[in-house]
């Protein structure tokens, strides 16, 4: 089978396997809800995973896409993982889970049809995506760190203004 055909035929199954692999990183008893509730607002975690899965697949398989486009589609998912897992590897490692699936579902066909290079190019694109995701993850973590500082400042904003005015009045008087 030609690689392009094979990519099309295998898409649903590969996406399903990858999402299963992602859900498997959550506690067992939570998996049911993640898999079965499809409302995008009632079960946003699954919706984010679905959106990321499609974007990931299309980009890896070499569909026409822009960096901004794919980043936009991965954004929610990366943000979620960035606050759900305590280390970058546990947060972003889920992207690597696509590799064994690709090797299982696509590699044999590609070897048969002599399109190994095509396959390797797809894997390389996955590596690029992981690098992109890593940048996004870091930006998200930065935002969190900034939020902490900003929040402490905001909580006392008016108090600080008052204290500064008070200090000024003391200086003037003194």
């Amino acid at each position: 089978m030609r690689l392009t055909e094979c990519l099309r035929d295998e898409k649903e199954e590969i996406l399903r396997l990858w999402m299963e692999a992602v859900y498997a990183t959550y506690p067992f008893d939570a998996k049911g809800v993640l898999r079965t509730v499809s409302d995008p607002f009632g079960n946003p975690g699954a919706d984010m995973t679905r959106e990321a899965a499609h974007a990931l697949y299309d980009a890896v398989m070499g569909e026409e896409t822009t960096v901004d486009g794919v980043k936009g589609a991965l954004e929610r998912f990366v943000k979620l993982r960035a606050v759900q897992r305590d280390t970058p590897s546990r947060a972003l490692g889920v992207f690597h889970l696509l590799k064994p699936i690709m090797r299982q579902r696509l590699l044999p066909h590609c070897t048969d049809s002599g399109e190994l290079n095509g396959y390797l190019a797809a894997e390389s694109r996955l590596d690029s995506l992981i690098l992109l995701a890593f940048d996004m993850y870091m930006a998200d973590r930065e935002t969190l760190a900034e939020s902490r500082v900003k929040e402490i400042r905001s909580q006392h904003a008016q108090l600080t203004k008052w204290a500064q005015a008070f200090k000024k009045s003391l200086l003037v008087a003194g």
Binding site: P27, P44, V83, D140, T143, R148, Q155
Partner: protein, 545 residues
């Protein structure tokens, strides 16, 4: 030679099949997953039981010697006192309707954050001591005994519930897991376990009235500064009446709006509105906090802190109380105040708007009116001159805060006001608003920075819906009627929907309010330039030439 693990092995958070029953898996107290504990000094001054130094990450939490008996007795006492609690323990049929309705579960995917299982943590203890089956069959009947790890688990999950009541909306029996969480927090206090972010404000409110413990004279000065800022924007310096005897109305609002950005702009909005109406009202330096941090602690503490509202209305001889935009303050007023602190002092009468003559019969008992109702009534009777085009650079949505929406049914009044002062209003998806609203993720005393990640995952369903309307309809603003939301939503929006600003309702009201004798508005209450104003002027000049 050892080999590096494959990615699958590195990232797995659990073995392929769980070896243990869900109840046996214990939470990990890693930094960021828990709030800092209350200080012994704070707890001592509040006469809380067993004040002590402890660290949630440590093995030993320094429980008192007789901790188990203390907890069992305290639980039995509460079962006796609250019939609802006993009912909630007995009637859950484990239908699972609530399971995926909690934002903590949706954000963490931790099964113990499913409301049904959160409650089961306590219910399993209940079964052992209070049900025949549990006594006879023990574990087989889902019963378990207390041990120190159970105490830790209760703490972990009682502070991963914002008492938002979303789950109860979907429960066919109306089981209110929020109330179960409240009881668990009460029980934990019996052995000296509380959090700093809640207990420090409780202490401050107990001793000085407001949550930061600002002395009365300084409090007045801070409010005066806000009045100065109002003058900069409008050319009018609003009155700031404090502790005025015989004023018709006592105004009480969360003190967060006096201290914190962006709440201060909402407070400025109140000052300007009341000034324009020439309202006979007063602020108080004693009842200077509407928010009730006691309600995150125990029923008794909530009652104690709430008492100052009526005490002050009596002292100042006010006829009724107008309450500002707050969440849990209104939950307490609407659900508990009558029982806690009623009946009202004899000098109070059923609230009547001095401007429109409307009698707020819904507040006949507590004699407290929500400012959104008050303002909606003004607008309905055409008593305010408004120029909503001043808010035209805003495309706003409205976040129903859990307490006003599910705790008191305040759904339409804020929207009515918002639509009158903003021309561009967009609702978020239906299953994320009104009664079904998703929590900000940090209510009930959880908006502390040490658990920022936890807040972002708990707030994810809200953030996600906001992001949706931002991308689809260009929403760039979110209004709300809760002081805690004004603190928790900015970081949430900044994470999930960067570019969306957050404000209270009355900030937008005052921006649109055309006041008698005001100067031409060139900026909003935040002193940010109003888009289009300068160009208009240039146009006008050019036109005049």
């Amino acid at each position: 030679m050892a080999k590096l693990p494959a990615p699958q092995e590195l990232i797995a958070s659990r073995p392929p099949f769980p070896g243990e029953h869900w109840l046996a898996l214990k939470p990990e107290f890693s930094p960021g997953s828990f709030c800092y504990p209350a200080k012994p000094d704070t707890m001592e001054r509040l006469h809380m039981p067993n004040p002590h130094e402890w660290d949630p990450a440590a093995d030993d939490w320094g429980l008192p010697e007789n901790w188990e008996k203390t907890l069992c007795d305290a639980f039995a006492e509460r079962l006796e006192k609250h019939r609802s609690l006993k009912l909630f323990m007995d009637i859950c049929v484990r239908c699972g309707a609530c399971a995926d309705k909690c934002h903590f579960f949706l954000g963490t995917n931790d099964p113990k954050n499913m409301p049904v299982l959160r409650a089961e943590l306590l219910r399993s203890l209940y079964r052992r001591d209070h049900t025949m089956l549990g006594k006879l069959l023990g574990k087989t009947a889902g019963a378990r005994g207390w041990d120190k790890s159970v105490v830790k688990e209760l703490f972990y999950y009682a502070y991963q519930c914002t008492e938002c009541r979303r789950c109860s909306l979907f429960c066919p029996y109306g089981i209110d897991t929020a109330e179960i969480t409240m009881i668990v927090r009460e029980l934990l206090h019996e052995v000296g376990l509380g959090t700093h972010w809640i207990m420090d404000p409780v202490k401050n409110c107990s001793f000085t009235g407001n949550h930061l413990g600002i002395q009365p004279h300084s409090f007045v000065e801070i409010v005066e500064m806000l009045a100065d800022d109002c003058e900069t924007v409008t050319g009018i310096r609003p009155k700031t009446p404090f502790n005025k005897k015989n004023a018709e109305i006592l105004f009480i609002t969360p003190s967060g709006d006096v201290f914190a950005d962006p709440g201060i702009y909402t407070f400025m909005g109140y000052l300007l509105l009341f000034h324009q109406l020439d309202l006979d009202y007063t602020l108080s330096t004693y009842a200077s906090e509407g928010g009730n941090f006691g309600s995150f602690t125990s029923f008794n503490m909530a009652k104690k802190l709430n008492a100052k509202m009526y005490a002050e209305a009596e002292r100042l001889n006010a006829k009724w109380i107008l309450g500002g935009e707050c969440g849990h303050m209104w939950r307490v007023i609407n659900q508990y105040m009558d029982t806690y602190n009623g009946p009202t002092p004899a000098n109070m009468i059923p609230p009547t708007s001095p401007v429109t003559g409307t009698v707020f019969s819904n507040a006949a008992s507590t004699k407290m009116v929500h400012i959104a109702e008050f303002t909606a009534d003004l607008i309905y009777h055409n008593k305010l001159k408004l120029d909503p085009s001043r808010n035209d650079h805003i495309v706003t949505t409205f976040h129903d805060s859990c307490n006003p929406s599910r705790g008191m049914g305040l759904l339409d009044e804020p929207r009515y006001v918002l639509k009158a002062v903003c021309n561009n209003f967009v609702e978020m998806p239906e299953n994320t608003i009104r009664e079904q609203t998703f929590c900000c993720g940090a209510g009930s005393g959880l908006n502390t920075e040490e658990i920022m990640e936890l807040r972002m995952r708990a707030g994810m369903p809200r953030g996600n819906a906001l992001r949706h309307v931002q991308q689809k309809f260009g929403v760039n603003h979110m209004a709300c009627v809760c002081a805690i939301d004004r603190a928790t939503l900015p970081p949430l929006a900044n994470y999930w929907a960067p570019g969306v600003t957050v404000s209270g309702l009355h900030e937008l009201v005052a921006n649109a309010l055309v006041m008698t004798g005001e100067q031409k508005r060139t900026m909003d209450l935040r002193q940010e330039d109003l888009p289009g104003v300068e160009e208009d002027e240039t146009d006008a000049q050019e036109g005049g030439e």
